[in-house]
């Protein structure tokens, strides 16, 4: 009702029910109701009891009042609407978002929080994800990976049956020393491939498939060395290293997307595909764990754990002969030291 002193007038525009047509209008808000009149002829177009409740503010976007029949009143007079709904919860959030002086401290807190998530929440999530992964899925992942491997860089093995049998025998010996419950969670299978270009190498897939290259069989025939390396690979499987690495990189991708939002086309791909690529190589921590557990398995099966040491000592010569510049088993001095310590402690 024009003339009342506690009434607020807000200029804006009015959209009829669910219509895209905008009509310049004024909203007159009083304590018990509000009226919307068209601007040009002052004709009344809406009349409501109850307070005028605008949608929550966001940035400096126009404020909107949604009417039950699907009509909409929109205004750019932010100050007037602020006067109307000061003190509401959405105003508090809006003020927090606009409180520039607080940005430094909030940013520092966020950086600390992000670090805590990376350090504590991520490993916990990875652990849960590994625990939730069913065995058939792990086996299927192995099959898929092996297939892509075969399609791209791997060829059928050219080893003789006797060569394969002797290595298979060592593999079986090592499996015997595993506790039953560990062995049953995976489908352990030793496969041989000829992979020109990566030299003597062995690697393990999450479901239990262990691949060993022809170059390895041809360079090393010492059972202790083979035992040490196969033990190391079996240790990777039993400790879920491959799966942990994969889930870690996926987890980072999901957490970043959840918390920070859209990272843009290229950074998105880097985080996802790049992260998965990086997860292919084990961390130094994982390598150390696999060394320890692998040597324990090897010695329990009756092989000399010093074999692993001899492997790393012989490797540089073997690799430069085979042109192996793509080293997937980086061996730092520290690692060799740790292996030596383990052997001496037994």
């Amino acid at each position: 009702m024009p003339g009342e002193s506690d009434q607020i007038t807000i200029p804006g525009r009015f959209f009829p029910a669910r219509s895209s047509r905008a009509v310049p209008a004024n909203l007159f808000a009083g304590p018990h109701g509000f009226v919307i009149r068209a601007r040009d002829d002052n004709a009344e177009i809406a009349d409501h009891h109850g307070q005028a409740r605008f949608d929550a503010p966001i940035g400096r976007a126009p404020r909107r009042l949604s009417l039950p029949d699907g009509a909409l009143f929109e205004t750019e007079d932010l100050a007037a609407v602020d006067a109307l709904d000061s003190g509401s919860g959405s105003q508090i959030l809006h003020r927090l978002e606009g409180f520039r002086r607080g940005w430094t401290i909030i940013t520092i807190l966020c950086l600390i929080g992000a670090y805590c998530i990376w350090r504590f929440a991520l490993p916990a999530l990875v652990y849960i994800a590994v625990w939730l992964t069913p065995a058939p899925l792990k086996t299927a992942m192995d099959a898929g990976t092996l297939q892509s491997f075969d399609l791209t860089i791997a060829d059928a093995s050219r080893l003789s049956i006797t060569q394969k049998d002797s290595i298979q025998g060592i593999f079986d010996d090592l499996l015997e020393t595993l506790p039953d419950k560990d062995r049953e969670r995976f489908t352990f299978e030793l496969t041989f491939r000829d992979v020109p270009g990566i030299g003597p190498n062995a690697f393990a897939l999450p479901g239990g498939t262990v691949v060993i290259t022809d170059a390895f069989a041809e360079t090393f025939d010492d059972p202790d060395i083979i035992g040490g390396v196969l033990g190391h690979e079996i240790a990777h499987v039993v400790s879920h290293h491959g799966l942990e690495q994969l889930y870690r990189s996926l987890g980072i991708y999901v957490l970043v997307a959840l918390v920070a939002g859209d990272t843009g086309p290229i950074l998105n791909d880097v985080l996802l595909e790049g992260g998965v690529l990086l997860s292919l190589s084990n961390s130094r921590e994982h390598e150390r764990e696999a060394d320890e557990l692998g040597m324990r398995l090897a010695s329990d099966a009756g092989y000399d754990p010093a074999g692993l040491l001899r492997f790393f000592e012989t490797l540089p010569d073997a690799q430069s002969k085979g042109g192996d510049w793509f080293s997937t088993h980086p061996s730092s001095g520290k690692r060799i030291e740790a292996i030596r310590e383990f052997i001496e402690a037994r």
């Binding site: 219509s19 927090l96 978002e97 940005w103 966020c110 058939p136 997307a257 959840l258 690799q319 510049w325």
Partner: protein, 350 residues
């Protein structure tokens, strides 16, 4: 507006990086201290900010979902994933469960499109999405499988099929969107990306041969730094070859898609995104985001969004005042949460 000589009406983004940073950092802070629960509300505020600050013909968009809807949808999806994992451990039932999931995906995708459409509006009119299960099954299950058999050489056909399904399903206030295009432009985009990959790999290949020849292989085993640097170099090479190629493809395809998109009533759209500009913006955004520990991400997001909206336009055939929405039955956020997890985002074309 002069309708005898239709003009390009560019979309307009009226937000600012400073303003968005405040909202973004508040989102981040609240999400961290609520152990991720606030992320549902953060998603709503993010979408509201970008939608409400995007204008065409002097009127803006809006997003209507509530944080609670998003949260419940996500909770249901997480529970379903856990249930699925536990069930899959049983051999035969696991196989059936996987089959059931494959059959459910088209249904979930349609629900997601429907939810996103219904929660988006322009000038007080909600969008709508209608799509058939069969269409979704073909475009998102069958064709991708078939495409894999062609070693992805038929990918442009798949891409066009997915876009056809998505775009033809949308409507605004009783007016349908329609998209169709010859396959040629899609293949031109594909070939442009392929040329980039091949070119980069050749350049990288020749550079690598030179540097490996001068490398002392004996040091690789005893100096972990060198071998790590080599591996990092190989990864960097892969990134330089492949990721910009994807951006090139997406830039070309976005232009083709929008240039062939129509809104019932004779309205058309236009897009003139330049691949080189898009790559430059994407790469510089990525580097600055990483270097700033993520703090420049909101600025980067606004920069990219402003570029895209600035290069998108409407060619109206008449006034845009006659769109009238229908009364909608409520759709749940379940489908939206599923594609959230899957990373699909086929909302508004912008």
């Amino acid at each position: 507006m002069d309708y005898d000589n239709p003009r390009l009406e560019p979309f307009e983004f009226r937000g600012s990086a400073k303003e968005w940073f405040g909202i973004w950092i508040a989102n981040l802070f609240l999400t961290i201290i609520t152990v991720g629960i606030y992320s549902a509300w953060a998603k709503v505020r993010t979408k509201k900010y970008f939608y409400q600050n995007t204008y065409i013909d002097g009127r803006n968009f809006d997003y209507h979902a509530t944080g609670l809807q998003i949260l419940i949808g996500r909770a249901i999806v997480i529970a379903a994933i856990i249930a699925f994992s536990v069930i899959s451990a049983i051999p035969l039932i696991g196989l059936l469960a996987t089959l059931a999931l494959v059959l459910a995906v088209p249904f979930l995708l349609i629900r997601s499109f429907k939810f996103n459409a219904q929660m988006s509006s322009w000038s007080n009119v909600r969008f709508r999405f209608e799509g058939s299960y069969v269409g979704a099954f073909l475009a998102f299950i069958l064709y991708p499988i078939l495409t894999a058999f062609t070693l992805y050489l038929a990918f442009p056909f798949l891409d066009r099929a997915m876009k056809r399904f998505a775009l033809n399903g949308y409507s605004l206030g009783g007016h349908s969107f329609s998209f169709d295009s010859a396959i040629g432009p899609f293949y031109r985009a594909f070939i442009a990306a392929a040329i980039w990959i091949v070119g980069m790999l050749m350049i990288i290949g020749s550079v690598t041969f030179v540097s490996i020849g001068s490398l002392d292989l004996g040091t690789l085993e005893t100096d972990p730094g060198a071998s790590l640097a080599l591996i990092a170099g190989i990864y960097a090479a892969i990134f330089i070859a492949f990721f910009p190629a994807m951006t090139i493809y997406q830039a070309f395809v976005r232009n083709v898609t929008l240039n062939n998109l129509a809104l019932e009533g004779g309205h058309r759209f236009a897009s003139d995104v330049r691949p080189v500009s898009l790559i430059w913006i994407a790469i510089s955004n990525a580097i600055l985001t990483v270097v700033s520990l993520g703090l420049l991400l909101p600025w980067a997001q606004v920069r990219m969004f402003r570029y895209l909206t600035g290069h998108t336009a409407l060619i109206p055939a008449g006034p845009l005042d006659h769109f009238v929405g229908q009364l909608e039955t409520r759709t749940s956020a379940l489908g939206d949460a599923y594609t959230d997890l899957e990373g699909f985002d086929m909302g508004l074309p912008v």
